[in-house]
């Protein structure tokens, strides 16, 4: 019995790679979803009502402390059978919503820390110069709040990328799913899984590098 065969490796390579597009799409879509939904949390938490604020904080905490895998299962298997609000979603949509919502709670927290990093004096200067609410955010607060969040957002992007294989459990045909299916056809998973590992390394590492570059660029602007 040979545990490793280069022949099987080269057979597995194109097979596993055929799932790469899906994996990348799930990652990018979920992250975009999380970036946008994070804004919703941030906005909701700024509404000055103690009870409301407490409720939102508690919901975020709940989403964050529940495993993403459970959330995926819930959205894909349980959601459709709930009366009235329930609906059936494709594996892809379930994965994007599940991972997106889960990570949006972290990202909302990052946005908040970015906004809090803008000093009180900036808000006061914006008021003294009579900026409108929208211009205050657009020209004064956000341009200062955003750059410090980039490294943290980047970290979550990579963390999230590494959680995307969870989606294979609900049938999203990404690289892990392809590797699994190759493995069960050939009664050996080693080569296919090795390829999956290499792909993750090959993508995470340059991403981290690019994020670092972007961070430096943003930090050295002024």
């Amino acid at each position: 019995m040979n545990y490793w065969s280069w022949e099987r490796f080269s057979d597995a390579l194109p097979y596993v790679l055929s799932g790469l597009g899906t994996t990348v799409m799930v990652t990018l879509s979920s992250f975009l979803f999380a970036l946008l939904f994070g804004l919703v949390w941030t906005f909701l938490r700024r509404i000055p009502n103690r009870g409301f604020n407490w409720t939102i904080t508690w919901i975020m905490e709940f989403i964050r402390s529940t495993p993403p895998l459970v959330q995926l299962f819930f959205i894909y298997y349980a959601w459709p059978v709930i009366p009235v609000v329930g609906m059936t979603l494709s594996p892809f949509a379930s994965a994007v919503i599940g991972l997106g919502v889960h990570f949006s709670t972290y990202i909302g927290e990052i946005y908040r820390s970015g906004i809090e990093s803008v000093g009180q004096g900036q808000w006061e200067a914006a008021k003294a110069l009579n900026f409108s609410l929208i211009d205050k955010w657009r020209r004064i607060i956000l341009p200062q709040a955003f750059p410090p969040t980039v490294p943290m957002l980047g970290n979550y992007f990579i963390i999230m990328f590494k959680e995307v294989p969870l989606a294979s459990t609900i049938g999203v045909t990404g690289i892990l799913h392809m590797a699994n299916s190759f493995g069960s056809q050939h009664f050996n998973l080693i080569e296919a899984l090795t390829i999956v590992g290499i792909i993750f390394l090959a993508l995470s590492y340059p991403s981290a590098y690019l994020i670092k570059k972007l961070e430096l660029k943003l930090n050295n602007r002024y």
Binding site: G119, G121, Q122, E124, A125, K127, A128, L129, N130, F131, S132, L133, D135, R139, I140, P143, Q144, R221, Y222
Partner: protein, 256 residues
């Protein structure tokens, strides 16, 4: 005498249970230069922050150019002002802060230009020219392209003054604008204020511990003590002739 540009009418301010201002009555006339002096914690900053709408009075009225700042009429009754009303009235007021509060992500020229363009909708070319003139005036024309982080404290504060001046306020507020500066940089900032006081016809309210300077340029001096205006009058009246023992004691600390 002309109508006051700003009137405080029995203005009170508390933070929680702490009564900070206990009935302020004050008229500020167009072009008048008012110096506010008094011990730490007497409420000097709070007085001008209410005019800049950074703090809301607990009771009383502040009238700016005939309009009630913190209240507006709605269906025949006076109600709390909304942001739209505040924005309308606030446009007459400008402020320079102790810690400059320049926008770090903009060059100093952009710091000067952003509000006239984006708040008042003025013509960009015209604003740019006016901003450059103002930067020249505060002695920083050659630095227009620098970011605030590249300037000294004194230079930052001069930019902050140019930024406020470009908005052409009717009343300009200064809250201890030299007290965060190294001693050797105080002079250059005071010179700019002196120049503005001499040549501009807007009203100015200066909260300051620079006693000699304040008395030199002020038309009117207020001595604030424990939340009330304990003395007010011309510099000579307040400084030379007042019998108020608290004021005498306060001044003696600056006279040695």
């Amino acid at each position: 005498m002309s109508e006051p540009i700003v009137q405080y009418k029995d203005v009170h301010k508390s933070f929680g249970d702490v009564k900070v201002l206990k009935g302020i009555d004050l008229d500020i006339h167009p072009a008048e230069k008012v110096a506010v002096i008094g011990p730490s914690g007497s409420g000097k900053t709070t007085i001008i922050r209410m005019l800049m709408t950074l703090e809301e009075p607990t009771s009383g009225d502040i009238i700016v150019d005939g309009t009630n700042l913190w209240k507006m009429e709605k269906n025949g009754a006076m109600v709390d002002a909304n942001e739209k009303h505040l924005r309308q009235v606030r446009g007459d007021i400008g402020m320079v802060f102790q810690h400059f509060n320049l926008f770090p992500h903009m060059t100093i020229l952009e710091n000067c230009m952003t509000a006239p363009i984006n708040v008042k909708g003025e013509d960009k070319k015209e604003v740019e020219q006016r901003s450059m003139e103002m930067l020249e005036r505060v002695g920083l024309g050659d630095k227009f392209d620098n970011y605030p982080s590249q300037l000294s404290g004194g230079q930052k504060q001069r930019v902050a003054m140019a930024r406020a001046l470009v908005m052409r306020p009717k009343v300009m507020l200064f809250d201890e604008v030299t007290s965060a500066l190294d001693p050797e940089l105080v002079g250059e900032v005071l010179e700019v204020i002196r120049d503005i006081a001499k040549n501009d016809d807007m009203a100015m309210v200066l909260v300051t511990h620079e006693m000699d300077f304040a008395l030199d340029i002020a038309d009117k001096v207020l001595f604030l003590d424990e939340g009330v205006i304990a003395e007010q009058g011309s510099a000579a009246d307040v400084i030379e002739h007042s019998e108020n023992p608290r004021l005498r004691e306060f001044l003696s600390r600056f006279r040695n």
